[in-house]
Subunit: 451 residues, 2 copies
């Protein structure tokens, strides 16, 4: 059933064995017309990626690792609905993905497992010579971030960090405006993850969202594992939706880098109150005794080598409307996400906001202009199409990812740095340079070409 | 012309001589029906206060110290317009206010001079036994803040910190909602001063706002002295419009206090670009050579004893709409100023914003309900009426100010702490306790009664 790809494998071999930085080394590799992809972790997020991939002609999802029977059942249904052959499932315990990597004939792998598995899976997949896509989270340690970088540099395997908000339509329109100098020289940026996740962190063990106050083994879907991070950790646990777009605006790791970070957390009240006040919970429920460590609002400030400041908001335990809270401010104007408004000097009336609609239509990013039709119906307002498309296209070319391992390490590192700063009352943390100085010369890549 | 007030002066004497904390010691002093007030510094801000006071029956502005002939001329016009007797002017150099304090028969004094004069004038006025109101700014040193506190404690003279935004109608409606528990237990708050002041920092030497790129001796009004702070200092130079309302929401110095602060500043570009691009400026203008030190966006994070976090924004050098950027967030919901929206759990549609209008009408603060008619036409949307009214009423009663010397010291201290943190790349600063522990027992005062 599966074609072996000896040619491509042997062509890729030198890079795989190289210990030098990959740095687009594979640019001369022939672009494949069709690739085999495995998915490690086919929960709801993995299923979204699979659904987008099975609709394509240029990739085949040939193998899947997941240990949850219900998720395996739902995943099979995606293939059946599209009349595609079923992939091989690896469900024999949490490390069966290692057997998958050993046995399957693959070009690429997407990792959409619980957070603690991202790095071990990515490292193993890079060592297997595959093109690796990893879903977003925050790291547990700075060392883990270095491990991703070192593995990439030792194997030459690429890592594409699957930060979908970088492809959000308004985020990309603003990127377009930034690159055209509409905001002048950038000075201050904000972003974050402000999303009432209480019904993600708790459910009834049957439905993925809400209906109860269970988490851990009694829960279903993300609440099985994600909520534990809110019990034990305190910091910005999910920084990348905010920092990803911001990093693209100010060219982090490409002529710029983060140099310092401080973080403060409010007290933790929201999750306890949710358990106590929920109809299925109450003061007598066992989870009412849990002490949640994650501060309800965590705020992180970053400084950069080029003199911009960045603020990241993390706010997932409280009743609130969804808002990533973007702010992009330069010498000529600013955009604020929460009021859908901007101000451009000499264009907007002085001291007045303008609504963004007309601007975002006019400055719609070329990628969206070109492919918006194909994104209709894809997750998160279509941006997930652009993410998966970029991954598949980059993997077919075995090209440096537009969001690469250095970006992954940098964005993921915000979490342990934030945890350290919070634990020390807000002390300043020095930000590691995961490029070891190459940030000074690295070229801007994201959305400069076809993805 | 001026009645002598021996009785009141002698009644107040014990407190004046006391070295113990004042702590409402004068509550038993009879409330005066009419008081004499001096104004030190009658620039445009002082004139606004004077204009509100000359319209009242319960106070007489009897003396004014100002050295600028044009401002003296404008000030006299206020009295003439209202057919009120002219006060005595002290214009013989910047220290003539000391002669005023010595010679005049006064109950109270309002200080609206350039920032560097606030503390020496307030100290001298407290030492003269007067009820002192000081305009807002940021301190130069922590020592200066302690000096205000020590002088109050040594003399018993009250200091009323004239933070007008505390009396803004929406700010007070939110205070009303906070006190009724609408937002639940508060967790995170933001505020600041985001105001394009470029035409305040520069003018043509004739008009107060804009028309040129002069500052210092060649400029008029605030640009004569305020812009120098942007040349030489880097930090949150003007924190009180943001922190004042926030401090009232979370009862700072009244059961709560600030414990830590970090601050980061972006690079400084806005003022230089303004000079270079202005029709009256250009690259060859002498002020194009000035290196402005004040970062265009300064962000400050504070932690509190009760576990809230606070973010303050300072942003005065860039093209932008005015916004103090308030955010008040608790376990039951949040308010955001910039999009005029709030969300209250169980009231608002889940995950959706609601416009504030109906709420702010329903929860209009009792003081505004009672006196909104009297505030019509007063500065800054009427809030200046409430500020001056509160000052005059508190001074007549010689009562502890609702925004007192400990609040003044705390709010003013943010500036030197921010400057220190910025200079050190964002290091954590320990926040002084200006109450020396009394914050644990001090009662909430602001807007609890008649002001």
């Amino acid at each position: 059933m599966r074609r072996r790809q000896f040619l491509q494998t042997s062509l890729a071999a030198p890079a795989v064995l190289s210990t030098a930085p990959a740095l687009r080394a594979q640019k001369n590799t022939p672009v494949k017309s069709k690739i085999n992809i495995a998915v490690l972790g086919s929960g709801l997020r993995g299923q979204s990626h699979i659904d987008l991939m099975v609709r394509r002609d240029d990739c085949v999802v040939t193998a899947i690792a997941d240990i949850d029977p219900e998720m395996v059942r739902r995943t099979k249904a995606i293939f059946e609905k599209q009349n595609k052959p079923l992939p091989t499932f690896y469900a024999n315990g949490p490390k069966d993905y290692l057997n998958l990597l050993e046995k399957e004939d693959l070009d690429a792998v997407i990792i959409a497992s619980p957070w603690r598995w991202h790095t071990p899976m990515a490292v193993a997949a890079m060592q297997a010579g595959l093109y690796v896509g990893t879903e977003v989270c925050g790291a547990f340690s700075i060392d883990e971030c270095w491990e991703l970088v070192r593995t990439h540099e030792a194997t030459g395997s690429h890592l594409f960090f699957l930060e979908n908000v970088c492809y959000r339509r308004d985020v990309m329109a603003v990127l377009n405006m930034v690159r055209q100098g509409m905001f002048g020289e950038l000075l201050h940026l904000e972003g974050g993850y402000q999303h009432d996740l209480r019904n993600v962190k708790f459910n009834d063990g049957k439905q993925p969202y809400g209906g109860g106050v269970e988490f851990g083994p009694k829960a279903f879907h993300e609440a099985r594992w994600r909520t534990a991070h809110s019990v034990h950790r305190n910091g910005d646990l999910y920084p990348t939706h905010g920092v990803g777009p911001v990093a693209n605006y100010i060219n982090i790791n490409r002529g710029n880098r983060f140099v310092g970070l401080t973080s403060m957390a409010s007290k933790a009240r929201g999750l306890h109150e949710y358990v106590v006040n929920h109809p299925q919970g109450g003061p007598g429920h066992p989870n009412a005794k849990v002490e949640f460590k994650l501060g309800d609002k965590v705020t992180t400030m970053l400084s950069t080598a080029n003199g911009e400041t960045v603020v990241l908001h993390h706010d997932t335990n409280l009743p609130r409307p969804y808002s990533l809270g973007f702010r992009v401010q330069g010498t000529k104007g600013l955009w604020m996400d929460v009021n859908s408004s901007l101000h451009i000097e000499g264009v907007s009336e002085a001291h007045r906001w303008e609504k963004t609609e007309n601007y975002f239509e006019k400055y719609d990013h070329p990628l969206w202009q070109k492919m918006a039709d194909r994104a209709v119906g894809a997750g998160h307002g279509g941006m997930d199409f652009f993410l998966v498309n970029a991954f598949v296209e980059a993997a077919k070319a075995n090209a440096t990812a537009p969001i690469d391992v250095y970006d992954a390490a940098t964005w993921l590192a915000i979490t342990p740095l934030s945890e350290q700063s919070v634990a020390q009352g807000g002390t300043l943390q020095t930000f590691p340079d995961f490029t070891n100085g190459r940030w000074m010369d690295r070229k801007v890549d994201f959305a400069m070409g076809e993805y």
